[in-house]
Symmetry: C2
């Protein structure tokens, strides 16, 4: 069919065009079909949206398609239906309950990355994985396909770590990278920004230094210093993962198999051969009980084996926040305090957990070195400064980390021993205060689990860039029971 072009002053991110519903149906083109648009011989593939109302014999183009085809408002293009990609048949095969082989999985992942599949089709694949038998072999294929359809960094004998998340604070990564790199092992660490939490490692490190690198930068930084603190988001490592996450988020679906493949694909793509997975367990984390944690742990190790990676796990206590700061800047302060004092200052639990994890990694690569020695000797801090310098310099003193000017401290209305600090409320307060958008906002927990508290003691200081948001965060902190206490005599 011929159609007159309407243009929109907006990019779609995907090659989507909008057709009139009746025009499309009369040409046997349906919502989600892939079509070919031909403008004087220049052709482009696009996915059809017919759910919006367009005048008959018109096609609405978003910016990228308009630019690709060098076409202007009012010009005429030819719209033709094309054959659906083979991957559609493979998705249907999975819905029918059959196993897919590597080539079939690769075709789905490739079409996801090349935007040849619609969100609905990706959702169908995700639901099919969730509802059917998904063998270890298929998980391996999915992981490999995700790695292969993206960029890769080839760092030999690299080690890595990953936390499946859910615990406020818990900013172990900068400490572990500094220790491991100081020990002489390569750790090309890429991290995410916060999605639903108050801060991701990339947000925290961005308070300190530049974290946006390309793959060449990362390779250079790691070659020189053994480590890096980079944002993984723009690197195109296993990019299919981003597509899958985007789609399944709307239902909060998290098929275990896709989660594992996602994590290990990002690690495999940076050449990691030894990977420690932190699985925090407890209220408000992603893993509820022992059984689930053990299963997840076993599955991670098995999938690692299939991928020729040494993947091992730590099931950790995630029932309350790790560290005292929550939010990008408060967490950066915690990390710098520990590093600068060579482990003498800063939150004990964050230091202990980081040392424990670094030791597990060192042990796994048969190193005789002790993470604690590397930290207390000052080597970790030196390494940290070296990496930051290589990333273009930045803040290396906790006192230089600025916190938001509007602040208020909540004090204890009763005494006792801290029994529990609620992850959920801590996250909520930090987000209301402005995290992760405002890097200087967040909160500081003066008391940790098992600490004795007297009436009137400081409990939480909240920081916010906005007096209004501070007020809201404070009112939530006063209303919701962040802290619960037990008798001072119990421990």
């Amino acid at each position: 069919m011929e159609a007159k072009v309407k243009t929109l002053d907006i990019r779609a991110g995907k090659p989507v065009v909008i057709l009139n519903h009746r025009d499309a149906a009369e040409n046997s083109i349906f919502l989600g079909d892939r079509i070919c648009i031909n403008h004087r011989g220049t052709k482009g593939m696009a996915i059809v949206d017919t759910s919006k109302e367009v005048p008959r014999n018109h096609v609405v183009l978003f910016d990228e398609t308009k630019e690709n085809l060098c076409v202007k408002e009012g010009e005429t293009v030819v719209v033709e239906s094309t054959i659906k990609p083979d991957s559609i048949e493979h998705i249907k095969k999975k819905i029918d309950g059959d196993s897919l082989n590597y080539d079939e999985t690769l075709s789905i992942v490739k079409d996801a990355v090349d935007f040849r599949l619609t969100d609905s089709e990706l959702m169908a694949y995700t639901v099919a994985i969730e509802m059917s038998e998904f063998s270890l072999e298929e998980a391996k294929d999915l992981t490999k396909a995700m790695v292969e359809t993206g960029e890769q960094i080839d760092v030999e004998n690299a080690v890595d770590k990953h936390c499946i998340g859910g615990v406020p604070g818990n900013r172990t990564t900068p400490l572990i990278v500094s220790i491991i790199a100081a020990a002489g092992y390569k750790m090309p660490k890429t991290s995410s920004r916060a999605i639903t939490s108050p801060a991701g490692t990339a947000d925290t490190m961005e308070v300190i230094t530049d974290v946006e690198h390309d793959l060449e930068d990362i390779k250079k930084i790691v070659e020189k210093t053994n480590g890096c603190f980079s944002w993984g988001g723009s690197l195109n490592l296993a990019p299919a993962d981003d597509e899958f996450i985007r789609v399944r988020d709307s239902l909060n679906l998290d098929p275990l198999e896709q989660l594992l493949s996602s994590v290990l694909a990002k690690k495999k793509a940076v050449g990691a051969e030894t990977v420690l997975i932190d699985i925090p367990m407890g209220d408000g984390t992603k893993v509820d009980g022992d059984k689930e944690a053990t299963e997840l742990s076993k599955y991670f190790e098995q999938l690692g084996q299939e991928l020729d990676m040494d993947v091992f796990t730590l099931i950790s206590d995630g029932s309350s926040p790790i560290g005292k700061g929550v939010g990008p800047a408060p967490e950066a302060r915690d990390v710098l305090k520990i590093l600068k004092s060579n482990g003498k200052e800063g939150p004990e639990d964050l230091k202990d957990k980081s040392i424990k994890m670094a030791d597990l990694i060192l042990e796994r690569v048969n190193s005789k070195m002790s993470a604690e020695n590397i930290l207390t000797s000052g080597d970790a801090y030196e390494k940290f400064k070296e990496i930051v310098k290589e990333q273009g310099g930045g803040i290396v003193d906790p006192e230089d980390v600025e916190l938001a000017k509007n602040r208020e401290t909540i004090v204890a209305e009763e005494g006792g021993r801290v029994d529990d600090i609620c992850n959920k409320y801590v996250n909520k307060i930090a987000k209301v205060a402005g995290c992760s958008k405002e890097k200087k906002s967040g909160l500081y927990l003066h008391k940790k689990k098992d600490d004795p508290v007297e009436k009137g003691d400081n409990l939480i200081t909240i920081y916010s860039e906005s007096p209004k948001r501070l007020e809201r965060a404070v009112s939530i902190a006063k209303q919701d029971k962040v802290y619960t206490f037990k008798s001072l005599l119990s421990k």
Copy 2:
């Protein structure tokens, strides 16, 4: 968050707004989330699209949202996340393999109709139905929910028929309605336009008379004449069905359970108590073998029972076209020929099948009348003219049906007896010729199954509004083997 409004000169059909991906993430809003937009106290619900690139702190509104909120380009609105509808949890429950009760199913269907669910979410529900146990009880609930969330016509003791499709021609409906209405039974028939076939009953009847009515019109026409020939598309009968069809079409998914619920919901909504389902079987139809046809038949009858409807089936031969014309106007000619000649002219197979089906319905409602008598006596034609008159008049003589002026006839290159006429190629040629968009285009099959053919005999005449499309259709007809022959001696 506050956002500046960008407007688009386009309707979305659904309340969709586009947000900047980072803005959204920082406010814990994700693709497919439902948000509330507040413009000076006027609030509206919308679904978020973050897959398109919008400048930060902007929100893109389609026409209906812009109008609902009385907001203009450049003004500021407040965007707030809202709670996901409960139906999301019910979809997840179905994905987990559990059964849903009536209220849960109703909430999904209601949210589908009210556009509170995204296409991906509807797809997830469809895949979950396809992959899980879906009991008769659940199918009943789904059907009832679809009926309840749309309009209904209350015609007492109505009868109806439905064909699950796939056979070219096969335009029995106008004949059956005329016979049944002449016999004194009410048949408020609503039909669809073609989606993937060369013509739907609504397309064919539109050649003859107006088929776009509202529910009040239909009620009046049926009260006066016992029958009607109306397009069901704009009537809002079981509208959830349209949403489900739209979504599952992209994967050509057709979960049996959803298909059955769809069909019976549309019938239930017009008050049908006795329904004959035609299940054509054979190459190119939707049902491949005896077993599948019998299962489908049994399931239809059982679901009917659950819904207090008397549903019964006819498993018919769908291996080749029924009638000689294919396409809106050629089929209208076939129908009018049979009616006007009181059954003496026109394609035998179409007449015989229509009489058989009408007899089955009459028998089912304990009538002693004979469909053949009603046709040959001229009562059917009188009734047809009466209904057409009530619908505003139209064509009632086959000679008045115009066919496209560009036409070409394909002749036999060999002799023999017709062994098979390929449904698939017939459909393809008719669509290339211009069906169903061009009502006068299509084809006419001079020879039917078992007819003797001599070299040089006319086989197919193709009609098209466009000389170019005619040429393409002819070349396909010459290339693809529409007809296959066997020895003249065999029968």
